[in-house]
């Protein structure tokens, strides 16, 4: 069994209101020096067996078709 992590973040050119809300709250709570905050999603998948090339291609397809919206989001697949 292997653990695979898929990180999904909004593309840099897409506005991120959730991130902006966090960023705006930080100085009010006394935290200075954070220039930008972006909020995205993290998926942890437990997959059967070894992560072969074929399996990895399938996981990329899952990330692209099910876990992210490729119009506005980028994703990264990490095997850990």
């Amino acid at each position: 069994m292997a653990r695979v992590v898929v990180d999904v973040m909004l593309k840099p050119e897409i506005l991120d209101p959730q991130g902006k809300a966090v960023q705006g709250a930080l100085p009010r709570l006394g935290f200075e020096g954070v220039r930008e905050v972006r909020q995205g999603k993290r998926f942890e998948l437990e997959v059967d067996g070894e992560v072969t090339e074929e399996r990895l291609a399938q996981l990329h397809e899952i990330a692209e078709k099910l876990l992210s919206n490729p119009v506005i989001e980028d994703f990264e697949v990490h095997v850990s």
Copy 2:
């Protein structure tokens, strides 16, 4: 300037309906062999200057107080 990533995931004992929904959709879309899916949040913070010990402590405080709900979520802070 440094980039800090905060990963926030539901504690293992907390049910994750979003993750379960993804998990349930996978076989219907023809993807077999994924045993479990958990969905969480990923924050990317750009902070001014170097990440000192003091700064890191402050980022842990931000993660605990603002980015996560410690009752139901665990978080990890990574400097990249």
